[in-house]
């Protein structure tokens, strides 16, 4: 963890994007960026890896489908087979058309809910979680870039950040145990 960081505040997403490019060209390290809304192209400019959350959703969906098949096979075919309307429950395949709606619903149920739970866990979002945006204006109209300032000439870095269009520069000493 960087012990010293610079918080540079911007008021425009286009200026922020240009600033990200400049900062990375100068080989400074961007720790984090807080924005009030998703800025298109920001993750590319920052060099963030693609999220794999959609893949997890697919896996959860497959699990949901399997669960629904196993559940209905056990209940309707194995445990208590009945002859409903002259259609005896001897095989899952033969009775499958009636099971399609619930196979579909449980697939969606698992894929959606487990993906959202994964998202909340990965992004550390839950009730009573304390917000971590360093400036309250970052949910309004300010964009905050946190740049690693340890082992850097602070004045030079501040000056550089100002030139990228930042409206406010703050040097933060991150004392781990305060």
């Amino acid at each position: 963890m960087a012990s010293k960081v610079i918080h540079a505040l911007y008021t425009d997403d286009d200026i922020l994007l240009q600033a990200v490019k400049k900062v990375r060209d100068e080989r400074y390290h961007i720790e984090e960026i807080y924005t009030p809304f998703p800025v298109h192209g920001l993750e590319k400019a920052m060099g963030l890896a693609d999220t794999r959350i959609a893949i997890t959703s697919f896996i959860y969906g497959v699990i949901g489908l399997i669960v629904s098949v196993v559940l209905m096979d056990f209940i309707m075919i194995q445990d208590w087979p009945q002859d409903i309307g002259g259609k005896p429950s001897f095989s899952y395949m033969a009775n499958m058309p009636a099971f399609v709606p619930i196979m579909f619903e449980l697939t969606v149920f698992f894929a959606a809910h487990l993906m959202v739970i994964t998202f909340y866990m990965r992004s550390k979002l839950w009730p009573f979680k304390k917000a971590e945006n360093p400036d309250v204006r970052t949910t309004d109209d300010h964009f905050l870039m946190e740049v690693d300032a340890s082992n850097q000439d602070e004045n030079k870095l501040s000056e550089f950040m100002k030139n990228t269009g930042a409206v406010e520069i703050k040097l933060i000493d991150k004392n781990e145990d305060h």
Binding site: D12, D13, D14, E32, I33, Y34, T35, P36, F37, P38, V39, H40, L42, E43, M46, L48, T51, I53, A54, S57, G61, L71, I75, M76, D79, W80, Q82, I84, G85, A98, P101, I102, F104, E105, L106, V108, F109, A112, H113, M115, V116, F119, Y120, R122, S123, K124, L125, P127, F128, K129, K130, A131, E132, N133, V136, R137, T138, T139, D140, D141
Partner: protein
């Protein structure tokens, strides 16, 4: 910047020369302000209706469903009519937020939050009816597949009523997390503006500690897209399965393969009408006319017009198929609908659902706010009659003429229905005062492409003009709060 380009022919979705901060202020205003007198009046009326409904429900459960107007022939009437009506209304929210997201329709951003709220609140009303109808609602958990030792037997997975249980609960819960995930950044905005510690605490809890990191936003957008992809077939499946309640039976008038698409179109139709009803009022009282513009209302009217016409085609197809089938019971069911003792319900349905949306072909009418509001009410009434017609007219004259009868609702039937309307409005009114009713984070993403100030900037200075700096500052209002 070219990335903000939008064809000049497209009308702005955000008017009033807004800056990012203006969007924040405008969306937070209803939450931060105090409720006025008219809010309290409407809330009191809704609350009274809700309490009356609770009374009727308590009476029903303590005495039995003999308190309803049901008889041996018409053994399914207002309960299921109201259920299907509310579920149908609940279709617009997810349609707007999911289907329109997949189709990249930016105009959904002004209305999706409220449409989703409406969806959740109306599905709650819908879910009440089957539970009341059970007679012993404390045994409602018997509909979930629990082992035999608990109840009598396993649930029957061949039954469309059980499919409904799964469809409605999946729909309600997925809509809820979709809605809430979208709310997180907006709750965070209100949290960060809150002045009292109590408010900060409450919105802090509601926002799940949302901080708006770049990685969070990346995941947020991916999750929204995948949820939209999942919710799109889901929303179509829900009313399809509701229609199976009827279509898989062998009652003439219900035993129809056209039901699934016909019900889905009808659901979207009634849902958009309810969105129009609510938002036409909300945009006025909450001063959101710059975000929910006449264009939004016009586009919703076009959806109403198209889905209303689809429903019309379905009505006529039903008549044709009944005649063409050569089955006299089927033929009689439809003849009886149109000319029997319930002719007035049938023709009310036809007038409200097929005839009235055709006015929306005229641009002048579909851009008129008063007229849109009027039609939205008409459509809501018409869609209630559609369900009533399908349900009651199909069963009130069965195969045995000596058991033919009519349905007479009791005060408990009407009271329960009024109660759900009250409950719905109680929830919606509380929502309108305490939740960010516009997805402000999303609206901010389209401000530069679709805000009127930025559009006129491009018109004046060309598409390559910067979207920041002095020229922009002149065109956006600067509010100092």
């Amino acid at each position: 910047m070219a990335s903000h380009y939008e064809a000049p022919i497209r009308r702005p979705l955000v008017t009033g020369s807004k800056s990012y901060h203006d969007v924040t202020v405008d969306v937070a205003a209803p939450v931060e302000g105090k409720a006025n007198k008219s809010w309290w009046i409407v809330f009191s009326i809704a609350m009274a209706a809700f309490l009356w409904g609770i009374g009727c429900i308590v009476y029903t459960i303590s005495t039995g469903i003999g308190t309803w107007g049901l008889n041996k022939t018409v053994n399914w009437a207002w309960d299921i009519t109201n259920f299907v009506w509310w579920v149908g209304i609940g279709h617009a929210g997810t349609l707007i937020s999911a289907v329109l997201l997949l189709f990249r329709q930016k105009w959904r951003m002004g209305i999706n939050r409220s449409a989703e709220a409406m969806t959740i609140f109306s599905v709650i009303q819908a879910a009440l009816f089957p539970i009341i109808h059970m007679g012993r609602p404390w045994l409602a958990y018997w509909v979930v597949p629990i082992p035999n030792q608990f109840g009598s037997l396993w649930v029957n997975f061949n039954s469309p009523l059980l499919w409904d249980v799964f469809a409605i609960s999946t729909y309600l819960s997925v809509s809820l997390v979709f809605w809430w995930t979208g709310l997180l950044p907006d709750f965070a905005m209100i949290r960060d503006r809150a002045v009292t510690p109590f408010k900060k605490k409450i919105y802090g809890i509601l926002s799940f500690g949302w901080s708006g990191r770049a990685k969070d936003w990346q995941r947020f957008e991916e999750v929204s897209l995948v949820l939209a992809g999942l919710a799109t077939p889901l929303v179509l499946s829900v009313h399809t399965i509701v229609s199976f309640d009827f279509a898989t039976s062998i009652v003439p008038g219900w035993h129809t393969t056209i039901f699934p698409p016909y019900f889905v179109a009808g659901a979207v139709f009634s849902g958009f009408a309810m969105v129009n009803t609510l938002l036409i009022i909300m945009r006025k009282v909450s001063n959101l006319e710059d975000y929910i513009t006449v264009q939004h209302i016009e586009l919703m009217n076009i959806v109403i017009m198209i889905t209303g016409s689809i429903v019309g085609v379905a009505y006529i197809t039903e008549l044709f198929v009944a005649w063409y089938s050569g089955v006299e019971y089927e033929q009689y069911a439809f003849l009886n609908r149109a000319t029997g003792p319930y002719w007035w319900a049938y023709w009310a349905m036809m007038t409200c659902n097929v005839f009235s949306p055709q006015f929306m072909w005229f641009p002048k009418l579909r851009r008129s706010i008063m007229f849109s509001f009027f039609i939205s009410i008409v459509v809501n009434i018409g869609m209630w009659f559609e369900r009533f017609v399908i349900i009651v007219t199909s069963i009130h004259r069965d195969y045995l003429p000596s058991s033919w009868s009519m349905f007479q609702p009791t005060f408990v039937d009407t009271g329960t229905f009024i109660g759900t309307i009250g409950f719905f409005f109680v929830l919606f009114l509380l929502y309108a005062r305490n939740f960010p009713v516009i997805a402000q984070a999303e609206v901010k993403t389209i401000l530069k492409s679709s805000g009127d100030n930025y559009k006129s900037l491009r018109a004046k200075h060309g598409d390559d003009e910067k979207h920041y700096g002095e020229k922009v500052a002149f065109s956006t209002k600067n509010k100092n709060n």
